[in-house]
Amino acid sequence: MIKLLDISKKYGGKELFSHFTAEFKEHEVTCILGASGVGKTTLINIIAGIVPPDGGRVVFETDGKERVLRGSYVFQEHRLLPWLDVHDNLELVLKNVRKSDGRGYTKEERAELIRKQLKLVGLEAYEFSDINELSGGMVQRVALCRAFLYPSELLFLDEPFKEQDPKLKDELYETFFRAYENDPLRRTVLSVTHDIPEALRLADTIIILSGSPVKIAGSYEKSEFSEELTEKIKELL
């Protein structure tokens, strides 16, 4: 369980969050839906530890015990190093990782993990391609691949499919599900979007944010997803 306790955050004098409290379930995909500028990215950045809150705290709890969790992140932009090829970009995030026995991965182990993950996202033929040679969709798949390759318990998605056309979005959703369903770590996914169809497609739970300071305007489980809910969400946004 991820618990946000009494979170407050101001940006440029504007009170974005004031005593904001929320809970997110483990091992499922939660989509945080809200209008542009409502504070969705700030919220997951607070959870990810990128942005410190002005007040309150984030607690990661498993079996009633507080834990420190590692996260992966797929940003809005791919954030791959343009001077490295696909392999080196992926290897970069593995070089400092320690296994449970305290040792790091050997070069061969890293190469094996990279090959496996690239196969899952359908990019095995592009392992040694330059980032600049890949299309926008392929580059975003490499970013997804990096996030699943990095051993973490949490995966943050900050509208990574935003700039893509509908056909490419479909392909990226498929890629995401293929990687997610084959993920041995059963990560907890927190995804941020303002795209209702995307949230309905990806999420097990949808949380609607609105207002200033931000409040949870609604929370819906997959079993509740329907045409009527889509209309209701539109009204809430």
């Binding site: 990128i50 590692r70 996260g71 992140y73 940003f75 954030r79 190093l81 080196d88 400092n96 990096r146």
Partner: protein, 256 residues
């Protein structure tokens, strides 16, 4: 396609030769107007002197020793400039500590550096030290700017994924700073040759281009002075071209 390329290469060379011929003509006209060999030599006499000194065995030893001094100063200022520049680019406190020294070095006249070096060092080491002091702040400033130009979003990504410091330096900061480093190293090549030659004129190491420039002046031989100057210009051009080729830097447009 191949024929088109060779035609365009030919046109480029054709244009270059024409430009050189134009400036040689301007030089010759100026020479004819001034009409005093002691003030302004003719291009013909300079070219003849140039080839005459090249034919002398001693010239190659002199060129070799001056090249060694310049190369030493360039390499030392590039290596130290990059290393200290990276540290200062990453650490604001270090930058605040080192930068005043760089500001002073950048504003100090080269002649002051040479004269103080003459007091401190042997005549053969003065050009190296002077060249180093003139070039080091340029590489330092370029490297600091390059490191600071690293994309903050990529820095955030690396930090989020726990990429190690050495790896960040190797994979993020150094590649971001590379175009700046290359531009500053290209620019110090010419500056270093000028500083080393000036230092050699004043410190007078026995075998040096600078000492020969001084000799040309005292013997009132402007053709010899121009010929040695042409050697410095040629060497500087060759150094720049080699560095640009090795580093993949486009001298014309400053692209990587």
């Amino acid at each position: 396609m191949k024929a088109e390329l060779s035609r365009s290469a030919f046109a480029t060379w054709h244009r270059r030769v024409l430009v050189i011929l134009f400036w040689l003509a301007v030089w010759e006209i100026a020479y004819l107007l001034i009409d005093r060999d002691i003030y302004f030599p003719s291009p013909v006499s300079v070219v003849m002197t140039f080839f005459r000194i090249l034919a002398e065995k001693n010239t190659w030893i002199i060129v070799g020793l001056s090249t060694y001094r310049t190369l030493f100063a360039i390499v030392a200022s590039a290596v130290l400039g990059v290393v200290i520049g990276i540290v200062c680019g990453l650490r604001r406190t270090m930058y605040d500590f080192v930068n005043p020294l760089m500001v002073i070095l950048k504003s100090t006249p080269v002649v002051s550096v040479i004269i103080i070096s003459i007091i401190w060092f042997r005549s053969t080491d003065v050009p190296i030290f002077s060249g180093f002091l003139m070039c080091f702040p340029i590489v330092f400033t370029g490297t600091v700017a390059g490191v600071r130009s690293a994309d903050p979003k990529l820095i955030e990504m690396c930090r989020f994924y726990g990429v190690g410091r050495v790896e960040m330096l190797k994979s993020l900061y150094f590649p971001s700073a590379k175009p700046y480093i290359n531009a500053s190293v290209i620019s110090i090549v010419g500056i270093c040759w000028k500083a080393v030659a000036a230092a050699e004129v004043l410190s007078m190491p026995r075998l040096s281009i600078g000492a020969n420039l001084y000799f040309a002046k005292t013997s009132l031989d402007p053709a010899l002075l121009f010929a040695w100057t042409a050697i410095i210009i040629l060497l500087s051009f060759v150094f720049e071209t080699i560095y640009a080729k090795v580093s993949g830097y486009d001298k014309t447009f400053g692209h990587q």
